[in-house]
Amino acid sequence: MGLVSRHRIPAFFAALAVLLVASVLSSLALGATPLDLLGALTGDAASDRLVLLRERLPRTLLAAIVGASLSTSGLVFQAVLSNPLADPYVIGVAGGAALGGSLALVLPGIALLGHAGVSAAAFLGGLGAVALTWRLSRDRRGRMRTYEVLLVGVVFNTIASAAIMFLKSVVRAEKAQEMLLWLMGTLSSDVRSPGAILGTLAVALFAMGLLFASAPALNALAMGEEDAAAVGVDPARTTRRVFLAGSLLVAAAVSVAGMIGFVGLIVPHAVRALVGSDHRVTIPGSALLGASFLVLADLLTRLMFPVFETEAPVGVLTALIGGPAFIWLLKRGGDRP
């Protein structure tokens, strides 16, 4: 049902894998200054090795994890909310994480912990928002009402953004600038510890695994709740599981990279336009394409560094590229969500 016919799906995945490997290698080798990748790996180029291991490898890994997380969560939110405009940030988890991270940036107590503290606070804020959304949008029988999830999410995000604006207005200018950069989405923050990266990776893999296992149930939900139930899917349980797994992905992504926009909206649409709406294909497809997309976007911000003498936040770049690309896709009519 997409541009790629069914028997070419394996080739599609092979192409995505090649794209990801190529993106990662380029991201490692290129940047404001290119480095000798082979020399860095063998140890012949000691300073390049330092840049590779301390800077580029963690950053590239983070970009891949965050890109995959945002794309996958966007995909499943679009499916369970039956809303093609849903992105990872429509539900309250984004606002919660943004607020948690902002508080950590400005409160002296938490600021002592450095960027690990910001990430942890953002992740906790995200989880808090999930719990709140969950409490507010379920009916007496414990089922989530998806339209209320959306409403609560939108309202909660508004409240969170008002609170963040308030924080911005009362802190010193350089703190406000730091918050702004973080909120716009950036991979240049100092989240570089192997612990933080492995933690994010573990959360992302767990949540994506959960979503992949729910793929047949998600497919059935496209027929509506009653028909999904008729073919043996518990709609309430599926919706719950998908929301929780998707929220984990968003909380993890925001906590290490702030609010990087558009990846989670456009990548799922692109994947559906290419291969149709079978979640057994679109979930791994979105993860792979999202990872490549953000790795390349981040590389672009670094390549632009000599031009602007500052690094544009990658979130700004994804929106600048993603916006027009999204409209182009929409006008091609390949995707009917």
Binding site: M1, N219, A222, G224, E226, A230, V231, G232, R336
Partner: protein, 284 residues
């Protein structure tokens, strides 16, 4: 042949009552019915009589307000959805799908509860193929479901239910939108399936002549209550139908095959069957 034990009875309704939240009168009122394996039961009755609600209760999609529903011995509303779906399949009256999907993918949804992993096995594919053939949907298996006519979509919905390999098949208006040839063909295929595989069938049918074709038993519903149950000849009586539908009907016997047939009477001033028919025009 021994009588099946209570546990293997495909459908057992006992005083089943269902009140939609906020409704003043129950949609289904104290309905009791037992359907045996291989039996084809037709539900007839006017619009709003409770036919669809009865089917959804039997499918476990609604929980009875009082009374009980048992499918193969278990309560379908309180059992695990996959287990229910391997026993009971429902063909809804119509269905729109949000995402573009081929007919084959759509029918494969019926295998959701049978999947061992994430992907269909050879067994699943065989079941899908058989379901497509049986409901005469194989010819458009690779077309998008959304682009089919209403009648073709109906056959695909039947195929999805057959792919579940149920012991109880529930159909809500299976022949609506079907042309006469496909309607007759579908009803006979479902009846064959009931007889050859022992599948119990309960179908809400508007077209009384279609109901007469294949049903072993007719259940007549009105205002949520079962007003008559029996073989087609005993239920399709002028007085019963006249009272239930509030419309004059001519019931005749087909000279070719000896079956009953029902024809609505237009605005003919004279009663054709029976002698105590009230004046036309009083019925709505």
């Amino acid at each position: 042949m021994t009588r099946p034990t209570a546990d293997s009875t495909p459908l057992r309704l006992d005083g089943t009552t269902f009140l939609y939240p906020g409704a003043a009168v129950p949609a289904v009122n104290a309905a009791s019915l037992v359907v045996a394996p291989g039996e084809f039961v037709g539900l007839i009755g006017p619009n709003g009589a409770g036919k669809s609600t009865l089917l959804r209760l039997a499918a476990g999609l609604l929980t009875p307000t009082s009374g009980s529903v048992r499918t193969a011995g278990f309560d379908p509303a309180r059992s695990s959805r996959p287990m229910v779906a391997r026993t009971v399949a429902l063909v809804p009256a119509s269905l729109a799908v949000g995402f573009p999907m081929t007919v084959r993918d759509f029918v494969a949804m019926g295998r959701t509860a049978h999947l061992k992993g994430l992907f269909e096995s050879a067994v699943d594919r065989t079941a899908v193929h058989w379901a497509l053939e049986t409901s005469e949907a194989a010819a458009f298996a690779d077309r998008p479901y959304q682009e089919l006519s209403a009648g073709e979509q109906r056959r695909v919905l039947v195929a999805r239910a057959l792919a579940q390999e149920p012991r109880l098949l529930l159909l809500d208006e299976p022949t609506a939108n079907l042309d006469v040839a496909h309607a007759v063909s579908l009803v006979y295929r479902v009846a064959d399936l009931a007889r050859s595989q022992g599948v119990a069938v309960v179908a809400a049918i508007h077209d009384l002549n279609v109901a007469l074709l294949a049903c072993d038993r007719i259940v007549l519903l009105r205002e949520g209550a079962i007003r008559a149950v029996g073989d087609p000849e005993s239920v399709m009586q002028w007085s019963i139908l006249r009272e239930t539908f509030g419309c004059d009907l001519y019931i005749g016997r087909n000279e070719v095959n000896g079956r009953l047939f029902v024809v609505p009477m237009g605005r003919d001033p004279e009663p054709v069957t029976g002698t105590s028919s009230p004046r036309r025009g009083q019925s709505s």
